[in-house]
Symmetry: C2
Subunit: 122 residues, 2 copies
């Protein structure tokens, strides 16, 4: 049963190169656990109904909100509550774990060339 196999985060991260393209490593009931590689600035967006937890595994993440910004390093996390506009910025290649409801679009309320409609499982 594949669900009994260990999931190696470094191995999963080594299996893809794309930036801003979260990959699913587990589905926990209705919640997805994803890994993503970030680099540069993303777009301002919000998720109307979904909270989103970012956990930095490697690198540095600047989470911008309209009224403040928060720097995160490895072992630090931030909860972005539903409805709150945010923009992730990675000054260097940064690896994150994302925890969010299944079906959460990476670009939230926007649909553009960075939108990932089908999240790949790795």
């Amino acid at each position: 049963m594949p669900d009994h196999e260990p999931i190696d985060l470094a191995g999963k991260l080594a299996s893809f190169d794309e930036h801003w393209t979260p990959k699913r490593i587990a589905r926990v009931n209705d919640t997805d656990v994803k890994l993503a590689k970030l680099s540069g600035e993303f777009v301002w967006h919000r998720h109307e109904a979904e909270d989103e937890l970012f956990i930095v595994l490697e690198g540095r993440l600047l989470m911008q909100f309209r009224d403040r910004e928060v720097w995160l390093g490895p072992g630090q996390a931030i909860l972005v509550p539903r409805g709150v506009e945010h923009r992730p910025v990675a000054p260097e290649e940064t690896h994150v774990m994302l925890i969010e409801p299944a079906g959460t679009l990476n670009t939230g309320n926007l649909r553009n060339e960075r939108t990932v409609d089908e999240v790949e499982s790795i």
Copy 2:
């Protein structure tokens, strides 16, 4: 707004000593993200309706199933699907992140002296 503050995993882990007593660090919609310190053998149990993802942060975790067992080290995770009997064993003090639906009881289908009814937020 406290939700905008970074969550430091090492700091959160340093804030408690109890074993087998998961603490909530974030609620993501209906899912809890928790930290726990494990040491020794837990009890065999299952969660009838809840999947559970264990991610090892420090130490070593042996996840026993009735038909196999899996060793995990830092940076490795395992999904325990709902309904599957399991027993976590930590040969040394081991720190884990748990991702599971809110309301998941640590002892699953059992209720005993190790059951934590009220999960503390830290």
